[in-house]
Symmetry: C2
Subunit: 469 residues, 2 copies
Amino acid sequence: MPARIQPVILCGGSGTRLWPTSRTSLPKQFVPLLGPHSTFQQTLLRLQGPLFARPIVVANRDHRCLVEKQAAAIDAGVTLLLEPERRDSGPAILAACTLVAREDPEAVVLVLPSDHIVTEPRAFRRAVASALPAARAGRLVTFGIEADHASTEYGWIRPGTRVEARCHAVHTFAEKPDAARAATYLSDRWLWNSGNFLMRADTLCAEYAAFDPDTAAAAALAVEAAADEGGALALDAEGFAGTHKTSLDFAVMEKTSRAAVARMRCGWSDVGNWNALWAISERDDLGNVSRGAAELFDTEGCFVSSDGMVTSLVGVRDLVVVAEKDAILVADRSRCGDVRKMVEILRSKGRPQAEWHASSHRPWGSYRVLEASDGFQVKRITVAPGGRLSLQKHRHRAEHWVVVRGCARVTVDDTVADYRESEHIFIPLGAIHRLENPGNDDVELIEVQLGSYLGEDDIVRLEDAYHRA
Amino acid sequence: MPARIQPVILCGGSGTRLWPTSRTSLPKQFVPLLGPHSTFQQTLLRLQGPLFARPIVVANRDHRCLVEKQAAAIDAGVTLLLEPERRDSGPAILAACTLVAREDPEAVVLVLPSDHIVTEPRAFRRAVASALPAARAGRLVTFGIEADHASTEYGWIRPGTRVEARCHAVHTFAEKPDAARAATYLSDRWLWNSGNFLMRADTLCAEYAAFDPDTAAAAALAVEAAADEGGALALDAEGFAGTHKTSLDFAVMEKTSRAAVARMRCGWSDVGNWNALWAISERDDLGNVSRGAAELFDTEGCFVSSDGMVTSLVGVRDLVVVAEKDAILVADRSRCGDVRKMVEILRSKGRPQAEWHASSHRPWGSYRVLEASDGFQVKRITVAPGGRLSLQKHRHRAEHWVVVRGCARVTVDDTVADYRESEHIFIPLGAIHRLENPGNDDVELIEVQLGSYLGEDDIVRLEDAYHRA
């Protein structure tokens, strides 16, 4: 039996064009955009079967708990490779291949973005399997999607001469074209560049080193000096900082003579913006997609999603309306690519909603800010069964907790006690404290913080079950 | 010096076309739609000067504290006449005139809706003064606005022959016409019916009695049996229930031979829907009106208002976007009249947002629901200086209070004590308790309620400073 394919899943993107649902604090790939699973989970599920080894997930440290929780929720085992910072796909893929090549240089690696949707995973796996001979023979195979419209949002590939079975050499890579060129590409049967790659680890490392030796050396250093962090492998920050920030297409694929393209028809979408999500979602007779507490009157062709607020549309056409607790987007469906510009505007104005959600996920559970005001803040805190916040103290705030669900174990200085529903705990300023959920059901608390400074960074961690101390 | 004009301000409307800002719990007339004052307050301010007596305000009991607070905030004294239920403008005006006629049958009454905007109050007062001779002579004078466009939203009046100075007999009343007829009315210089009236109290009572003797008798009974309620006069419910629910136009004006119309040009708008508010608001170069945390990118002709959430518009035209904490409206600006239909849909689906705001105003201050869940609820409570909640208990819930601003005086059973910022009070289920603000600044608390039933009606009032016990 030949060696399995080693999947490498890229989780580093921030997906600003799906704002306000996707933000730095919970980017697109961790959001259930279509169906019950996030696109990251869908990517893991796509890799089921004997063809694939345990996936390597390359992710930012900030998203570690999301990766672990979401993988665990679907019983998928992963190997975590933590990036110290975002440096685009090139260095991430190179580091992963360097790691894989240390064990088995000829191992074949399948690189997958974590934020795509594939409605026909079997067809996806078939296409991967059929490209294996070319990858084994030293080709850098990219998967090309058979285009069904003249997209100006994707990169295109013109296939060249046939090489190994089902693969063609790449004649031309063309970045996002204008409408006229896109129409030509479509009629000439060019393919969309899907961003999925299949190749031997050693081939990729060698080609990368040929075109960018500095980055190859830096990536090798980052992997060599990588440290175990409670089961995850953290790339060395200094080494990784020496890589050039760039995409694999730009660093290698557009330069190498080994580039090949394999056709794929698998219900693929990169869900690049809200309009793309509308296009692949089930629509009603009037072309509307409606999620959450939405009400529509004489409305057509709209995508509306509401996180609780009653969102009412009256007499409108072809809009995207996304309502989160702290941020709302109303965009023309044909202008969804510009949502990225709106996020830049919000960032330039210092609006926290550009990057942060009102809800935050933590290894131990999650919290949501219910009210923020001068001198006080109210949060709803959920601690998962077995969850254990760090032993900590605050320099600038006192906290009141009221248990509203379940039974919480609370340490305050030298005392440990259990508190049930409707019990109150006061954490004085400076007190060393810890919150735990020793039970089998979620614990929920309402927290009222009071103090001169209420930032998340006013936490002095004395001990932490999740390696954050 | 002649007797002053007796203003009667009608506060009974519910303004559903300005949903979600205007709802039954805080209708349009109490909202600061344009500038710092509500239209109710603007109506009071319009009546300053020696021409007018202390206004009578006809309002629903539920809105009493709003009327009193908003009048007090601009130092305006009012006489409150409480309607037991909404029966449209006819019975409300008739009851007020019956009341006025008991003191002085010949008193001249000026009826004003409380939800209109008049940008030139002096011109308004001049027009009223100039119609006085006609009213004194027994005319029922309605004020006609010189039309500037072919509105299909207003009633129109065709003036007839001249009667007293500056007044014309009414030749025709025409209800909301179609566009073609509206265009004809405009070119024939018909007037818009503003819903403001000037007439002697006895004339109105006599004419009403002539056309609808049952209602006249019922209204007389409602006034005769009216009861003093801590300074307000509450119409007798049984009597008032005997009146026919109808508008004054329909009950009297369209039938009487005494109808007259006086021209008025005073920057009038009935702010009948969001588009009307957009039209009278200051707009930027691209025709946008923007209030609160709104961000616009390549957007034209829009009205956007946000109650805190960052509301972002991308590439849209001629929309109304109104975001309240619990409800959002996105409507085409030309379709704002249909917002009323959306409210009906929400009502038919039992959505509380059709009628109720997340924030509620009370005589002692206000509160806002921050979170509502099974078994618990979180509120932010503000008690105004001198404010005093009723002495009360709950049958189904316990409450935790954390003071986050100011100093609260709290009674729990036999104890009264003052609590400062960051102090916690527990109100056990069934405990008799009271919250007061003895200081000069607002007191704010976060309340966590826990119990099997959390409805507002689980309050057993033992004593109340605002006549609600």
